[in-house]
Amino acid sequence: MPLFDSLYNFAGWLTGNREEAEDLVQETYLKALKGFSSFQQGTNFRAWIFRILRNAFLTSRTGLKATRTVPLESDDEETAVASATMDTPESILLGRASQEAIQAALGKLPVIFREVLLLSDVEEMSYQEISETVSIPIGTVMSRLYRARRAMREELQGASNG
């Protein structure tokens, strides 16, 4: 089945719950089969089916609850230059975060940041594909990615200091 593992993993991260992830994946495949006629040949199938899953999530109770919590900063915020750090290549390699710490930090991200980070880093989608999947402009994709990564770094930094 096309993209089954990727869709399941994405659904798991959106819902944080295996039962809900299964419902979401099942709904996605049924909607994709039912609405395949709406898929335009030659366009991006992966973005299309991930968009179905994401829309199904947004209409679920968990999705509505998650998207009610929106960050105060604007999406149009310029991607500011990162502040200077005292890192060195050695300290970065030695201070590598554990898998558990990364999962915890990812789980704490607001869903609008988590989804773009997953699509970029895990699914290796281009900015264009993410833009099509999430239905936001490419500039907003870049802004959300920047803020997601900044939040991840801060969370991981806090965890290693704490």
């Binding site: 994946v25 006629s37 829309n55 947004l58 290796e124």
Partner: protein, 263 residues
Amino acid sequence: MASDIWQPKIDRYVDAELSEEEMRAMDAHLRECSSCAVQALRQMRLKHDTKLAARRYASSPQFRRKIADQVIANQVIADQVGARRPVPWRWGWAPLLAAAAMVLLVAGIFLSRSSEQARSGQLLSELTDIHVANLAASTPVDVVSSDRHTVKPWFQGKVPFSFNLPELAGSPFTLVGGRLTYLDHEPGAHLIYNIGAHHISVFVFRDQPDLAHAFSTGESSKDVLKFHVESWSAHELRYFVVGDASDESIHQLTSMWKEAGNS
């Protein structure tokens, strides 16, 4: 500082989103600038580690089998429907070509109409599915209020349009509330009304080209699986009223919505 120019590009460099020329320039810069090199290395490490750590959820073999079975079952149905399509004839007689062309022209018009009808049937079927699934839900609405001035603002920022709800004073209808819904991947508003023991759903969507094409006749009134459905478009919005209440009730609510939409 030179780094100020390069640092904002580091994310795009790590994500391989720079042009070839910019990638080469960035490579050259990273060999010279330790500050940017450290930052790029840190970004690459985080991206790599995130990829590994985020592969967290794996399905059970049973669930995978269940979905595969459903996909196959749907494919079989689709193949059976496809097999019933008529095979085109091959006529080699020149004098009959004109007649064949005429047949094809008529068939083309007929198939175009059939395709519109099939699409509108599919969309109406999806809406009745949403209506029925909603009746069975433990919390059928996300905003619970009989006050239209509470329900309408709830949709602001959730749907890419604005719409008016009718005043219900003096009518037999009660507004239960509203929820966000999707049709063909487009967000829309779903309002639920009560009349006696019956529930009626009103759906509002942007009148996208696909919807406009499927409902090219403008207004329609149909019965789908014993549900009465009325549909119309006005001011670039497409409305649907779905329910098992009497045709008169559905029509009355439809008229009230039309009036509100024009006010």
